[in-house]
Symmetry: C2
Subunit: 157 residues, 2 copies
Amino acid sequence: MPYRSFDQNCSIARSLEVVGERWTILILRDISIGFHRFEEIQRNLGIATNVLADRLATLVEHGVVRKVPTDRPDRFEYRFTRKGATLSPVIAALMHWGDTWESPNGAPRVIVHTACGHETHPVSTCAHCGEVLEPNEIKTAPGPGATAEEIALGVRP
Amino acid sequence: MPYRSFDQNCSIARSLEVVGERWTILILRDISIGFHRFEEIQRNLGIATNVLADRLATLVEHGVVRKVPTDRPDRFEYRFTRKGATLSPVIAALMHWGDTWESPNGAPRVIVHTACGHETHPVSTCAHCGEVLEPNEIKTAPGPGATAEEIALGVRP
């Protein structure tokens, strides 16, 4: 890799270490829509096999996907772990943003919420009060994992 | 760039064309927590100035951030447009995933919902019924922007 890793005490940076490499999110998208074998994903994305092998190895190493045996001993499938499944809000949010701002001919795909049966899109809400988390109504502050220096700096304006 | 662009009829791929390059999400994070000048962002991230200039140019070109004049004619600030502000759910979801799975010493930063006054994290909910969008209760289907071929393929298992 031409760049050094993100060396920050930051959960966004740590997430990007796992899923921030080029192609990785699209590989996860493919697994989520039903492509589970290396050849299927490779064909659908049209990426180099060494790049796909590298990205899948990173995802397996970090416990995001696991290799599952099939009936054929020489063949296995990539399936989400629970950790991988919980990336769903990230992928759905990226999709909704692209639908809203970058797809002038309409959404290429829509999300269906099988629990209620309707087409939908994700709405990011507050775990405490349940209201929509409007971008201008959130701020951040040092958390339990902050360094002493970060606590001293506190919240920037 | 060593890789070709994502050439897909997919809103996730289109979002990644704008915000999927290495460092871009961390630049957006810095703007969101109050770093608005080139030098501030560069110093905080410790990245090469040419990389930062390239990423900011892409964000300005796509209308995600805008350059705002300041009192000093030789100095301006980078601020979110509405399009940029609506990336908040993506960034918050990445942060929450990293807090959950990649930060064993606790969250380095916490989100405060200023509307209700409590520490919180984002919950991805259904725009139709308001319930939590559980990963195993969503599927995707061709949308209005699907190609004829994609409509013919329909939903994969």
